[in-house]
Amino acid sequence: MAEELDIARLRHVRRPHFGRIAAIVAILIVAFLLVRAFAHGKIDWATTWEFLFWPTILWGLFNTVWMSFVCMAVGIAIGLACAVAHASTNPVLKGAAIFYAWFFRGAPVILQLLIWFNLALVFPTLGIPGLFEFKTVVVITPAVATILSLGLNEGAYVSEIIRSGMLGVDRGQYEAAKAMGMTNGTALRRIILPQAMRIVVPPLGNEFIGLVKMTALASIIGFGDVVRSAQDIYYSNAKVIELLMVPTFWFLVVVTVLTLGQRVLERRFGRGFGTGGAR
């Protein structure tokens, strides 16, 4: 080379992203067309706005939210028990856990809702004869039937999620915990499950969001969730689409809050792992 090349003096040009620019333009056009279509469509947005904070709607929203949390709590409790039972060396426990997951993942949720709600047709009374007995129709209210069907169903899915998290923890961790004199229970609680949580939180968040929306199914057995509330109103005022936009808005709000909660949990359980949500 004739002259000495000083590479450090040359300017670094940024890579052009033509694809991204084209995509942004396309998205903006589609978004504009959609917004315009809905703005000029036959939707009376004023009605939607009017009913957004209607007491019946807020009551339904409250029911949707507490039902989601109760069903998820039932699901996590059952799922944890089943995941631990599945990992057990005891063949009876393992078999029971496998059967449970098979049964409750197998039957459609809507069928499970209907079966629990109509339990009175099979067993007119519940309880231990002679000690205590209740009329089934009194005990199995729409709320109880929803908790039973969605909770038990969720347990089957959550057990598989927790199990995959436990399988993701290195065998050496079990051995280290045992070598220090921990019992199986302590090792699970202190060493295995906290590490499994890191793997479990994203699919569990996914599951929870699915469950929030699944509670809408409970409206068919008469549970007063937010969808049911909207339907009750449009049956009387015939503003169908306007009222259906109301629960749509609220579901998006709830799911957004849950998504943010999931981020917080991911960060919490990612501590000590370089790839955890924090960094």
């Binding site: 070598a179 220090m180 921990m182 019992t183 906290p194 000590g272 370089g274």
Partner: protein, 265 residues
């Protein structure tokens, strides 16, 4: 209890009598008999697959054995003798027996979701039910002993392999074990990090700790080991003082192993 040797004045820390184990059709351990006396440092050497790690894991019951017996500090491991029958102990009782031994693994196995300090305090708090603030000072002393007090708040992923292994040693010592078991503690380390871990082990040995070390570090075995055991194909081939066995092996297999090991290293 049964004794491997005739000496009955001191209770051995470990007494193994004809310990045998099969993995499927493969005889992993056969008639392994040895005593380890208090304060003794026994190094077990041998080719891979010779059963040395399996034997170590039998001592803290991470592995079960099918024949023979093992005593730790005079206590029969894994079973309770009732008359002529041996009844297996419960999970909880086995956990209790494991507290007497500290184990250091080839791959460290630190708890990644806990800081170095939390790794050390975890078992005393959870297993011995001691109070966290009360355990804290002792844990800091242990971290200082392995030269890592300044890393107390670091997570394992932020530490080098050598540092992780030194934390693992401190973690095992926190349970105040009667016996320390080392399973190839330097095999997963970069060569330049081996020295710092061996230094901690050397210090531990000179403090009078009873140790069983499965190792490929023949130099360490010669220098620190009171006794060296050579194992091959699940059996103890030869036992002797470090100097005897390393410089004047009696068995052909020992001689061949040492020859290849030294030319390789």
């Amino acid at each position: 209890m049964t004794r491997a040797d005739g000496n009955s004045s001191v209770t051995p820390v470990v007494s193994a009598v004809k310990v045998g184990k099969k993995f499927g059709g493969h005889q992993a351990l056969a008639d392994v008999t040895m005593d380890v006396m208090p304060g003794e440092v026994v190094c077990i050497i041998g080719p891979s697959g010779s059963g040395k790690t399996t034997f170590l894991r039998c001592i803290n019951q991470l592995e079960s054995f099918d024949s023979g017996g093992l005593w730790l500090d005079g206590e029969l491991l894994g079973y309770r003798r009732v008359g002529e029958a041996l009844h297996p102990l419960s999970d909880k009782e086995i956990a209790g027996q494991r507290r007497k031994t500290g184990m250091v693994f080839q791959r460290f196995n630190l708890f990644p979701h806990m800081t170095a300090l939390e790794n050390v305090t975890e078992a005393p708090v959870q297993v011995l039910r001691r109070r966290r603030d009360e355990v804290h000072d002792a844990a800091m002393l242990l971290l200082d002993r392995v030269g890592l007090a300044h890393k107390a708040g670091a997570y394992p992923s932020e530490l080098s392999g050598g540092q992780q292994q030194r934390i693992a040693i401190a973690r095992a010592l926190a349970m105040q074990p009667k016996l320390m078991l080392f399973d190839e503690p330097t095999s997963a380390l970069d060569p330049e990090l081996v020295g710092e871990v061996l230094a901690v082990m050397r210090d531990l040995a000179s403090s009078g700790m009873t140790m069983i070390v499965v190792t490929h570090e023949l130099g360490f075995a010669r220098e620190v080991g009171d006794r060296v055991v050579f194992m091959d194909q699940g059996r103890v081939v030869e036992t002797g003082t470090a100097a005897e066995l390393m410089s004047d092996p009696k068995e052909v297999r020992t001689r061949n192993f040492l020859k290849t090991a030294f030319t390789r290293g």
